[in-house]
C-alpha cells in the first residue's frame, strides 16, 4: 500500500469496537482476583489497545519503513527503561546465601 493510504471507514469501526471490547474486558477483569496476574492481564490488554491505535488510527501500518523504525526505536527505549528498572525491583529480595 502507498504511503498515503488510509484505513477504510469499515476498518475504523472494527478497531473502535475492538478498543471498546478491550476497555470492557479490563473493567470486568478488575472484579476478578487474579493475584499477581492482575497487572499482567490489564497491561496486556492496554498494550494491545495502544498498538491498534498506533497502527491504524495513527496510520503507522501504512507508513514508510523509516517511520516504523523510528517508532520501534521509541518503544525499544521504553523497554530499556522498564527492563532495567525491573532489574532493581525483581531482585531486591534476593539475598546472598
Amino acid at each position: 500500500m502507498s504511503e498515503h493510504s488510509h484505513p477504510t471507514p469499515g476498518l475504523y469501526v472494527v478497531i473502535l469496537l475492538a478498543l471498546v471490547v478491550g476497555t470492557c474486558l479490563t473493567w470486568g477483569i478488575a472484579f476478578v482476583d487474579l493475584g499477581k496476574w492482575n497487572p499482567v492481564v490489564a497491561l496486556t490488554i492496554a498494550v494491545i489497545k495502544a498498538v491498534l491505535v498506533v497502527l491504524f488510527f495513527m496510520h503507522v501500518h501504512y507508513s514508510s519503513k523509516l517511520t516504523k523504525v523510528t517508532i520501534s526505536a521509541g518503544v525499544f527505549w521504553l523497554m530499556i527503561m522498564i527492563t532495567m528498572s525491573l532489574s532493581d525491583y525483581l531482585t531486591r529480595t534476593f539475598l546472598p546465601q
Binding site: W77, M81, S85, S87, D88, L90, R92
Partner: protein, 545 residues
C-alpha cells in the same frame, strides 16, 4: 631581486544575515537558523547570569560555617534555582541551540534546518519555559533541589514546585524540537559529496546529542507530570503514604537526567574536535573512532542511570550491573581524550584563545570523568555519595568541560558569526583567569567531600572553613573570567578587526562562506570532495554554478 607580497585586508560583505533585514519583527519572526541562534545566544546568556548570581550568593554564604547570611530555607531555594537555571536553561541548550543552530546547516552545506518554523517555535518554547521558571523564582522560589525528588516535592514542600516543573517540561519540548531538526537535517539535507564519513565531528556529536534529546526528554516530562498529579490531586505514584514508590521517581528522573549530562557534554566534545585539529594543523586522529564514540556515549548513557541511586535502597544485583555499565561509558569518553591528544602530538600547535579553552577542556574533563569512576564504584560511592565530592565531580564535567567548550567554540566561531575578530590578548587573559578561578573553586570541594562535607547543607563544621573560603575566593575569580568575554565581545562588534572568510585557515564548509554568512549560507551549492580535516592539503570544496 626581492618580491613583495601585497596583503589584502579583508572587508565585510555588503549583504549578510545580520543586515538583510532590520527591526524587531525581522528578529522575532525570523526563520533563519543563524538569527535564531543569536536569539538563543542572548537568552541563554541571560539565564547563565541569573544562575551565576545564585552561585555567587551560595559561595558568599558558605564563607562562614554558621550560615549567617541566609536562612536555611532561602539557602535551599538558592541552590535549587541555581541548578534549574544552569541545567535546563543554560547547559542543555547552550552548544546545540546556539552554536549547533548556527553551524549544523552550514557545516552540512544546506540553506537552513529542515523545519525552520519549528526551530523558531523551539526558541519561543524555551522562552515560555524560562518565563515559568522565572515566575516561580520571583513568587517565592522553589526549594526541592533541581532533582525534584519525591515525595519531598510532591507532598511536603509549600513552594511553587508545579510552576517550576511546568517550565522545565516546556523547555524540554524546545529541546526535542531542536534535536528533531538536527536529525532530519543531517539525514536529508547534506550537500552533494557530504557523506557520513565526511561529516564534521561537531555535527556527529550534535547528532548523537539529538538522539538523546528526542528519546530521553519525553521521560522527564512524564515524570514531572506524574509528580504534579500526585502533588495536585494526591494520586499515589511516588509517595509511600499514598501507595506510591519514591525510588520509582528516581528511576524515571535519572533515566532522562543522566543521559541529559551527555546532551550537555557531547556537543561540547564536538567543539573540541573542531578546535584541536585546526590549531594543531593536523588531520584529526582516528576520525571514525571519534565519530562513533559520540553515538556510543549516547547509547551507553541510557543504561547507567541507577549509579545515582546506589544508596537509595536499590537491589545490590541491579547496582552491580549499573556500576559495570557506568565503567563502560568511560571507554568512548577516553577514546575521545586519547584521540585529541594524539591529534596534537607532533602538530604545529598554535596557542590561540580557542586552543587554550580546548586544552583546558581536555584536562578538566579528564579529571571530571575519572572522578566519575570513583562514584560508579559501589563501595566508594557509599562514602562520598551526596558530598561535595559529587559537586566537584560534576562541575569539573559541566563547567570545566562544557562551559569551557562553549567559550572555546564561541571564540572559535565568533569571527564567523559577527564578521569581526575579538581582541586576542584580553581573551587569552580571560581563558587563564577562568582556568585558575575554576580550579580554585572546585578542587577544594573534592577534598571537602572526601572529608565528609555533605552537599546542600547551609552550615558546616568550622574545620571545613579554610577550604570553603578558598572555594569562594575561586568563585569570584571565575566570575571575572566569565564577565570579561562579555565586555570584549561587545567591544569587538564595533572595533574588532574585520575577520574575513577564514581567519584561522581552517577547513570545513563554514569557512568557505563569507563572515557573517549570507542569509541562505552559500551563494552557490557546495560540492564536497574531501574529508573535513584535510589540513595541509588543498581546499576540500569545489563550487559549481
Amino acid at each position: 631581486m626581492s618580491t613583495a607580497t601585497a596583503i589584502v585586508k579583508p572587508v565585510m560583505p555588503e549583504r549578510h544575515f545580520l543586515n538583510d533585514n532590520y527591526g524587531i519583527r525581522s528578529w522575532l519572526l525570523t526563520k533563519d537558523h543563524k538569527r535564531i541562534a543569536i536569539l538563543y545566544l542572548f537568552s541563554i546568556t541571560f539565564f547563565f547570569l541569573i544562575g551565576g548570581v545564585f552561585a555567587s550568593l551560595i559561595r558568599l554564604h558558605l564563607l562562614t560555617p554558621n550560615g549567617e547570611l541566609f536562612e536555611a530555607d532561602t539557602y535551599n531555594k538558592l541552590f535549587t534555582m541555581h541548578g534549574v537555571n544552569m541545567v535546563f536553561f543554560f547547559l542543555i541548550p547552550s552548544v546545540p541551540a546556539v552554536l549547533g543552530n548556527f553551524l549544523v546547516p552550514i557545516m552540512v552545506g544546506t540553506k537552513d534546518l529542515a523545519f525552520p518554523k519549528i526551530n523558531l517555535l523551539s526558541w519561543y518554547l524555551y522562552m515560555a519555559g524560562g518565563t515559568f521558571s522565572m515566575a516561580a523564582m520571583v513568587s517565592g522560589g522553589v526549594d526541592s533541589g533541581w532533582t525534584f525528588y519525591a515525595p519531598l516535592s510532591s507532598g511536603y514542600l509549600k513552594t511553587h514546585v508545579i510552576m517550576l516543573a511546568v517550565g522545565v517540561i516546556i523547555a524540554g519540548f524546545s529541546s526535542i524540537f531542536t534535536g528533531l531538526n538536527f536529525i532530519v537535517t543531517v539525514h536529508r539535507m547534506r550537500a552533494p559529496g557530504m557523506t557520513w564519513g565526511r561529516l564534521p565531528l561537531f555535527v556527529w556529536s550534535n547528532y548523537a546529542a539529538s538522539l538523546i534529546m528526542i528519546l530521553g526528554t519525553p521521560v522527564i516530562a512524564i515524570t514531572l507530570i506524574l509528580l504534579a498529579l500526585e502533588r495536585g490531586f494526591h494520586i499515589g505514584i511516588f509517595d509511600p503514604k499514598l501507595g506510591g514508590d519514591p525510588v520509582l521517581f528516581q528511576h524515571m528522573f535519572w533515566f532522562y537526567s543522566h543521559p541529559a549530562v551527555y546532551i550537555m557534554i557531547l556537543p561540547g566534545m564536538g567543539v573540541i574536535s573542531e578546535i584541536v585539529p585546526c590549531f594543531s594543523r593536523k588531520r584529526v586522529f582516528g576520525y571514525s573512532f571519534v565519530a562513533f564514540s559520540s553515538v556510543a556515549i549516547a547509547v551507553f548513557g541510557f543504561v547507567v542511570w541507577a549509579h545515582h541511586m546506589f544508596v537509595a535502597g536499590i537491589s545490590v544485583y541491579s547496582a552491580l550491573v549499573f556500576s559495570l555499565l557506568s565503567y563502560a561509558v568511560a571507554i568512548p569518553s577516553a577514546v575521545k581524550v586519547f584521540n585529541w591528544t594524539a591529534t596534537m602530538y607532533k602538530g604545529s600547535i598554535e596557542m590561540s584563545t580557542p586552543m587554550l579553552y580546548a586544552m583546558a577542556f581536555i584536562g578538566l574533563f579528564t579529571i571530571g570523568g575519572l572522578t566519575g569512576l570513583f562514584l560508579a564504584a559501589l563501595g566508594l560511592d557509599i562514602h562520598i555519595h551526596d558530598t561535595y565530592f559529587v559537586i566537584a565531580h560534576f562541575h569539573y564535567v559541566m563547567v570545566g568541560g562544557m562551559v569551557t567548550a562553549y567559550l572555546g567554540g564561541l571564540h572559535f566561531w565568533w569571527p564567523k558569526i559577527t564578521g569581526r575578530m575579538y581582541p586576542e590578548a584580553p581573551a587569552k587573559l580571560a581563558a587563564l583567569i577562568t582556568f585558575i578561578g575554576f580550579n580554585l573553586t572546585f578542587f577544594p570541594q573534592f577534598i571537602l567531600g572526601y572529608m565528609g562535607m555533605p552537599r546542600r547543607y547551609w552550615a558546616y563544621p568550622p574545620e571545613f572553613q579554610v577550604l570553603n573560603v578558598l572555594s569562594s575566593a575561586g568563585a569570584s575569580v571565575l566570575a571575572v573570567g566569565f564577565l570579561l568575554p562579555l565586555l570584549y565581545f561587545a567591544w569587538s562588534l564595533k572595533y574588532g578587526e574585520v575577520a574575513g572568510n577564514n581567519p584561522w585557515q581552517a577547513t570545513g564548509l563554514e569557512w568557505e562562506t563569507s563572515s557573517p554568512p549570507p542569509t541562505h549560507n552559500f551563494h552557490e551549492i557546495p560540492i564536497v570532495t574531501k574529508d573535513p580535516y584535510a589540513y595541509g592539503e588543498d581546499a576540500e570544496v569545489t563550487v559549481v554554478h
